[in-house]
Amino acid sequence: MLVLSIAWRQCRSLWSSGEIRVLLFALILAVTATTSVSFFTDRIQSGMQTQGNVLLGGDIVVMSDHAIPASYLAEAQKRQFQTTQTMEFPSMVLNGESSQLAEIKAVESGFPLRGHLTISQSASRKQLATDIPAKGTVWIEPSLAKKLALNIGDSISIGDRQLKVSALLLLEPSRGGDMFSIAPRVFMNSADVAATGLIQFGSRVKYQLLVANQANEQDVMQAYADWLKPQLGRGERVEDVRSARPEMRNALDKAQQFLGIASTVGVILAMVAMLLASIPYVQKSLDTYALMRCFGATKPLITQILLYQTLLLALVGSVIGCVLGFAAQYGLAIFAERLFLETLPSPGWMPVILGFVTGFATLLTVVWPQLMRLQAVPALRILRQDLEGNVRTNGLVFLPAFLVLAGLVFWHSGDIKLAGIVLAALVALVVVASVLALAGMRLIRALSKQEVGASQRFGVIQLGLMGFRRRPALTVAQVVGLSMGLMAILLLAFVRNDLLKNWQTSLPADAPNRFVINIQAEQIPGINALLTEQGIRHADIFPMVRARLEAVNGKLISAADYSDDRAKRMAEREFNLSWAAEMQADNTSVAGQWWQVEDAGKHLLSLEQELAKTLKLNLGDQLTYDVAGTKLNLTISNLRKVEWSSMHVNFFAVTPPKVLDNYAASYLTSFHLPADQEETINRLVKQFPNLTIINVSALMEQIQTLISKMSYAIEFVFGFSLLAGLAVLYAALMATREERVRESTLMRVLGASRRQVISAMLVEFVSVGLLASVVAILFTNIAAYYLATLVLKVDYQFNAWLTLEAVIAAIVLVPLAAWLVARHQFNQPPRALLQSI
């Protein structure tokens, strides 16, 4: 009780004298940054996942070519998930004498579980559908209405059943997974399916079970998926947004990794700020503990007081930090919700726990080395102020803090490679920054021994640089702290730039949104001319020959040869073989060689690497294709990586020119059609009625919206980390403030002008800023290179502008902030200052 009371009194008095405020401020900031970033990323990640799930219609989808086993549904219901089932099958739709092949989708109540269908029941009004088509009615796509001259209220025949058109289907977000469906969509109620008489043994029907979790908890959904996977039979598979939509997976994964890096940076910045803030706190406490030792306080008693004091601080800081963190993310989330279609899921408890763990662990470990000094402060200090305690600051005392930092970095990043790179760079940075700071001080010492000329300006510069010498330990701490803070922020800025640039280039605003297939060789000049005339920049027109893979190295293959589901499908499906002289710009050769001009006509083959991996094919393997009844042998001479998310036309299998000349080929192309040029399509279809044009603009728009929303989220979190960085700067300056005020007061008493004192201080901080920024930039570039190439898998580009900006910002901001922190001291007469120190 006595210990607690002394600890409390100490805390209270340190609060009123100010030293603890900086530490508490840094601690609160640490917890606030951690919890708010964590709260926010937690919600944004779930939000982004939900957004992605809209494209799937549910959180996960079980797909099957036969009726979904009842046990899957029962298990999902047992786990209290929302479920709904659909059936998809092609069928002719008739209106009197006219008919059209359509993709029928029969849905049950509740569809879709994620997102909404957009329908229109009159010409001008569109609305989000709140239900599914009533029994006896259908919703049809406008293109079908046009082709069959249908109006709302008309009837159509599907199989044996007459159904009334009750709405036009304008947008079906969940069709994304099937973007190359050519036939127009018809939505009907599942209850009407039996009456159509279309579903019989052998019918080609795709059954889907959509599952979603109300609470939006990804781990419970994952648990269900894990339960499901071993049960899956032939023709059944489970998909979530990641497996169903590779371009989504890519963007989601990168966004999550970035948010992970951002949280990590928040933790690093906070710990640096606390480390720096603990310096004045300890400095101020030295006399108190010396006096206590003098009055007979034992080491265990002092340890206890210090421990209680630290725990009290940690408690207060964690509580305030969590409350502020929640409030901060709430404000951000209100703004962010406008960015998302769906309401953001409510925040969980995890960030609170994380906040408390962070608060206690960081404070205890960061302050510990300093407290060890306090504990060992000799009582004799009361008579001799130069004694500070005989604990040598060897690097080991910082080990607990480093371990906590490493633990938090691993926890936040959720990626061993990422955390490893960040930590390795930090350790290297601390070592190099310390060595450089010490070397700098030696240099200054050597210079200061030289005879100084009478120049007053040089005197001020020297005076400023001597600040390094007067406070060696603090200067090293300051340089290391600032360079760590700078590096953290720069790293985030570099990676953010790379990531955003990568997204923009992978899916630019003018990415292709129309695919034209069925082009005949003789139509190519005409199509080229028409598109050019309309000012449409179109991609090349690619040839395509349908072929089936029959044998590998002379051995016949079948789906049964493969255990992997995807491999089975690949082995069964028809391939589109194409030919090209040059490799496409968005392809990269990963093995073997792309052919030369003289290889034209040679039976070589370039395969997409993932396909080769799935079918276990290697360079040199001979593949036998069946092309319209004739055998074609091709040898794999090259493997390519294909950027599928670019939306450009790409082929799994490509041969050199002249290999496929004797086979019937059709051609295809893709291009970006601006929204106001729909007329071009009409002209194209009119001139070449055999062409099939696939419109993927709705899907493209969805993906682009999602990516821009993720970019916003990333900017938010980045801005937040920037604030934490400013706190580090503040703490770094506060660490030496008192000492500097004392010095500058003495200088002024001794006759230095206000201008000289300020100049000397600015010289000192320009040097600190320069040193810190140079070290930070060096390590940021190294770490950013590894992060970009190894973790985010985006291209790394040295950003000279950002580098220059960082150096300028550091040598301007650091002295400016130092001046702001100490400016009121400069305006007071020295007498007043003497009393205050």
């Binding site: 006595l2 009371s5 002394i6 009194r9 100490q10 008095s13 340190l14 009123s16 004298s17 006399d287 108190t288 006096l291 206590m292 030792r293 003098c294 009055f295 007979g296 306080a297 034992t298 080491k299 265990p300 008693l301 000799p378 009582a379 004799l380 009361i382 008579l383 001799r384």
Partner: protein, 235 residues
């Protein structure tokens, strides 16, 4: 058997190493301070007065020789053992007052009592403040008190735990003559009332001559000064 001396130093030596040079501060110094004696140690600046005080109070460790407090050698004790001896036997008054700026006058007086685990710390602290005439200022912080008042708080703190030995290091060094005089009055008055042994380190002869015995520290050795000499050497 009760120890005859409150403080005893036997062949006490202290050397310090500075810039690779060993500097002797005290050499084979012997001293006995009988109980209830008022002893003054004088000497010029840098003669080692504060070093001697630090050794006698167990704040520092001798290079050789030993210090006995109430007959017990404090040399073999560790830092915590010496801290316990200080808590039990000693009070301190410093030149720079050494009040904790963040604690009120009352809290400053109470601190050593709390450290000694006294349950009646609060009552004793208040009565100690009364005895130095500062009860009314108990809630004031050191910054709100004059130098003389701060030293009175320090004296109240020193006597509150009823120490058997009081070490005073230049108690009037930071005060003007008149205030210094009143502080000395208070210090000696309380010393007489409580029967405490007083070891006073000063270079102020006016102050020193009010003690029963005066020792001059010179070249690391103590030399007794006669009362007559004291007057002659006053400055």
């Amino acid at each position: 058997m009760q120890a005859p001396y409150a403080v005893e130093a036997v062949s006490l030596s202290k050397t310090v190493v500075s810039n690779d040079t060993t500097i002797p501060i005290l050499t084979n110094l012997n001293l006995v301070v009988p109980k209830k004696e008022r002893l003054a140690i004088i000497g010029s600046s840098g003669s080692g007065k504060s070093t001697l005080l630090g050794l006698l109070a167990g704040l520092d460790i001798a290079s050789s020789g030993k210090v006995l407090i109430d007959g017990s050698d404090i040399g073999p004790l560790d830092e915590d053992g010496r801290a316990a001896i200080r808590a039990k036997h000693m009070g301190f008054v410093f030149q720079s007052f050494q009040l904790l700026g963040s604690l009120t006058a009352f809290e400053n007086v109470m601190l050593p009592l709390q450290l000694a685990g006294r349950s009646d710390a609060s009552a004793i602290a208040m009565s100690a403040l009364e005895s130095v005439g500062l009860a009314a200022r108990s809630t004031h912080y050191p910054k709100q008190l004059s130098g003389g008042e701060q030293q009175r708080v320090a004296i109240a703190r020193a006597f509150a735990a009823k120490p058997s030995i009081l070490f005073a290091d230049e108690p009037t060094g930071n005060l003007d003559a008149a205030t210094g005089e009143s502080i000395i009055e208070l210090l000696f008055d309380l010393n007489l009332k409580s029967g405490t042994t007083l070891v006073l380190v000063t270079h102020d002869m006016n102050l020193a001559r009010r003690c029963q015995r005066v020792l001059n520290l010179q070249n690391g050795q103590l030399k007794e000064i006669d009362i007559a000499d004291k007057k002659a050497g006053a400055h």
